[in-house]
Point group: D2
């Protein structure tokens, strides 16, 4: 694996490296970690990388690695830069024959997203988008239960992603994570919408297996001088007639990382909270509340195989993230042997397109005073 | 106290009686419990009432009691009938000099609601609407914390009231509670909206001290052949610029009585769940999560006085309901002595008007595909 | 019902009155509420009792009521005094033909306890001991599940009752509840042991249907100058070979009323917490965790009939307490008609004897450095 | 790092490898993974190790590595075998100049434990015992709060470690994890006592900073034909006068990995549950309940530095385990530079001795019908 972005000040770069390393299947062999050559090389040195594989920029890395012998060069690229720096390296990597792991949201525009989608199709290369929450065992159990019809037809959904870290103007204090996220040239047209709203959108579509058809969005800009949304409330309608609400925020004071979902079907319902990820609560017409646990009793295989340690031994954010990498690496290995997995269990370039369509629909709806707007 | 409705098949009549009796301040002295004289008298007999004060209908009761000596006749009327039978007895009681306790939603129409409001003003009589949740000690603590500015300016709200008991067509099985609630001639233009949506609306306005300015409602009719909503998702905007979501349902399979609220201010936030009513969770910019408990440490007096037993000894639905009656009875006593409480702590006829305005706004918004609609 | 004790300063008197009144089956008709005639009459007046039935002392009450016409006199006596004042009025009431409700622990000595037990047998009168926790619906569900063999043979038990209100020397501040509880002349030989340890002992025997055979107790006296225990840790062994721990405390700083029990059988286990009484968590060899709720799905009739309102509407301490009174009152009514309930569902004089035996065994064990001591 | 044990059938070997790898500070360079040379080499191959560093047995590994150039040879040995195979390799490693990481319980006998302790002293080498739970950020916060006196003098402790996986005779089904644990030649004189009781003992001493002075143990052997305990209930007394209970079990049906601790001081108390490790609940004399979260507000530095990702992003078992390795690796690095950390934050050989003393005291107490027995 070669990494683009994720230098010393980055939070998410380290997460990607830990996640990729967890199962001993992926080795970091090179990187272009920062916007300056100097910083990039310093970061690489800290990571015990050989000097000659700490590149000044992503273009240099892609070209150089391409020319290395097959058994030496990186197998794929992981792009962990701010949003505005996803598209170019992803495109160049694909054009030069490298599989891609890319952070979300995938691009700044729908056109870019579709261009990547077409490139993936035309090259036959693999592309993973690092929505990490689908990597959680209990999320996989939720998805499997609905897919097997245990809840019956889905009628109602609630999804929320609540954080409070932008409740004050931290972007004015030099906090790097905050400053690029509130800057539309780096973040795109969505603020919290792109940063965490897309996680909510992805999670609800992943678990239910349903697509959001249209939405009515009321976005908020509560932080002083903010030009991008830092809060949003959205009505959603699904293709099958189900309805629901989505709520996200980065000004929900005191919330840490409160991603949660409830799904109600005709026969049963389920509830999952990211902050206590090892439990999945289900409720029923005519049975008591039943709580599934990671690696516990009566799970579907999809959920069981996503755990590494016995039930009761909590796994968390990094382990879910690592499942995305693990499943992607497995696919890369299968690909190396000339085969292909039909339905790989990690978010793909198609999920990336959905995410950008979601952002654009929500922003457009908000501009029209929350008028219903289709995702397309 | 004289009771109208609440005969043998009623659920809520018994709740009102237990709540009214809890503090030994209110005695049930007469009633017109059912739609037929016979059933009414049988119900009264079961309640150990003297025969002559078990009336055939509410008109008879009001006239007869009016003519009893001052120290014998009922002090006030409690109306616990289905929605369509609130207005007439409430109006007649007020016109004949009786204070009124009335179940919610107050009336079927805004005009009726305003007529009662005017009657209360012109007669100077007391009127309590039995939204019981404001009677919960931790709800009072929540209201007090916000009123004292502890959370700072309110920015975001989530409120939900989720039940699952109408997930199947129980109204077709002869279940009496269900059958009148899905019948617009008895329930009014709102289904779940009137039955529990109004609780959510009342709770959020009570706690925040803010009024909902406008809403965008997407109602659902998921049950077979239902003509009234059994589910709803609503965007709300408050007069002060705060935004939020409301979600209610009676088809949320497996949910029992999941009323919950979250309020986010600039400095802190709070969260309360009716099913575990003795805890109030608060979160802060710069302090750890703090959980207040009923009759526990550091409460405001408004919350402390709402508990009857030491902290850790759970009080629930009936005790909260009883607080509405207790505060009303205290006011009646003050009134008997010729005085008046400035801000009595129970929902009043004004809350009743708000509730009906809320129902009408939501139904109108839903008809207009969730267009923003003001409460008025 | 006539009440002995429970005057104006009392906490538990008011609890008894509210519990007795809840179902409209029991009326307070007289009382000897305090140690002085004056206070007793003042208390009675506050309770709207007629002057002539506010007695100066319990002897006067029992004699006077005995001589009233059958349809006027009290049906039974409720004794809600501190521990040292249970035996004499209970004995006198029984000797004069009155059924008795008595607070726990029943007496100060085993001899007294056995004397009451014999009196109950010889008179055929009814006797309820107000351990209230067996009145909780989920406790009844727990008992029923074990009785029906759902958990298999019981192997292990944990029970705890943790409070913190005596963590400081509140008895020196004039707090009346504290001062008599730390005084052996009023409390007996057990402090926290008698006050709450007996609740734990009763709960574990009620739920499991097993008797504690022997125990090894390590009591603590942490509060300054305390002569009675305010904390205890006990190993317990049951007649069937099961083992376990009991822990109780009134110096567990910050705990409110944390009574909790876990029972492990060969096939499953259960867990109940008094502070969230409407849930019963069960765990299984080969099924996911299942949580029963009051008045919810799949309950045994014993549990269902103990709820008054729909699932999701929390009932608490008073409602559980009221179930003891309700079941006792039902039995009194059956008795009035000349019949008798075989296994009445409220704690009886036999539970009272067990409680005192438990106190004595624990104190003796503690004196012998936690040597194993049988209950007898 | 070179690994002894942890071959293909092992659970804990993989845990150690993932934990050691997490922070990119430790590289697995060699191993003697199994009891047979063939299996060992196969395991090493799966781990991408060069053939010549997959050794046939630990003796070969220690000798061979000792003779490698300084910059090639392993820095330390990780011993992850069943209990009976800890002592010999640990001793040999120390005698040949290698630092040691060793699984718990450290040895089979007190004599062995003390021999290792002396070797560590005499050689000046580093020794980490992998009790992983002290690696949890909230455990470190708990320890720091007590060390800083926030809870006041400690009076009461509850600690439990409940599992249910041996509730049936799984050792008879060929389950390898079970079969060695119930075999005294491999496990030592303690069953569940050694396997998880020692975790409880270590946790309570780590958090409180107090030593258990004496204990009274009632062990159980509930599983058919078991010769070692699979359950235990223990009274404990601390050197400072505090008292408490310990309960552990591997036949607590349905429990997964329920390690939990409560500590009560004169001013406050705390509660931590391993299954929800990112919360630390604290309760106070005169403040509401306060819940600290990993990487959240108001933590001590010791707790803050133990988190890798932002608050609300759950870290679990592996991350806590990795903290033991990280702190050990930091110490190894400091040592390489000729220095030494005064109070390294990982369990050491002294904790290993405590653990074995605890096992022997508990077994002896149990043989004497739970007589008080000192740890020594």
């Amino acid at each position: 694996m070669g990494m683009i972005g994720g230098g010393m000040d980055s939070f998410i770069g380290d997460v990607h490296r830990k996640a990729a390393a967890m199962d001993g299947m992926i080795e970091l062999v090179c990187g272009a970690f920062s916007s300056t050559a100097e910083k990039s090389k310093a970061s690489g040195k800290n990571l015990f990388l050989p000097k000659n594989r700490c590149y000044s920029n992503f273009e240099e890395m892609i070209i150089s690695e391409k020319n290395l012998p097959e058994n030496e060069k990186m197998d794929f690229v992981a792009i962990v830069t701010p949003n505005h720096m996803h598209f170019s390296p992803a495109k160049m990597a694909l054009e030069n024959g490298f599989h891609v792991v890319c952070d979300k949201p995938m691009t700044l525009t729908i056109a870019e997203a579709k261009e990547l989608e077409e490139l993936v199709t035309s090259t036959g290369l693999l592309f993973a988008l690092t929505h990490n929450y689908p990597g959680s065992p209990m999320v996989k159990q939720a998805k499997a239960m609905i897919a097997h019809g245990e809840l019956g037809k889905i009628r109602k959904v609630q999804v929320q992603y609540l954080q409070g870290w932008l409740a004050t103007s931290v972007e004015k204090t030099g906090q790097k994570q905050a400053s690029w996220r509130v800057d539309p040239t780096k973040s795109g047209i969505g603020g919290a919408l792109g940063d965490i709203g897309t996680h909510a959108e992805n999670l609800v579509e992943y678990i239910t297996g349903l697509q959001i058809k249209e939405l009515a969005a009321d976005l908020g800009k509560f932080g002083k001088d903010r030009v991008l949304d830092d809060d949003g409330n959205i009505l959603i309608r699904f293709e099958n007639g189900a309805k629901g609400t989505m709520s996200f925020s980065q000004i929900a004071t005191g919330e840490e990382n409160n991603l949660a979902i409830r799904v109600y079907g005709e026969k049963g319902s389920l509830e999952w909270h990211q902050e206590t990820p090892n439990e999945l609560v289900t409720r029923w017409l005519d049975k008591p509340k039943t709580t599934y646990t990671s690696n516990g009793n009566n799970l579907f295989p999809e959920a069981l195989t996503a755990s590494r340690i016995p039930s009761g031994h909590p796994e968390g954010y990094l382990e879910a993230f690592a499942n995305v990498y693990k499943n992607f690496a497995l696919h890369v290995n299968v690909k190396l042997q000339g085969n292909r997995i039909e339905n790989p269990d990690y978010p793909t370039v198609n999920d990336g397109v959905r995410g950008i369509q979601f952002i654009y629909a929500a922003v457009q709806s908000d501009k029209n005073n929350a008028a219903w707007t289709s995702l397309k």
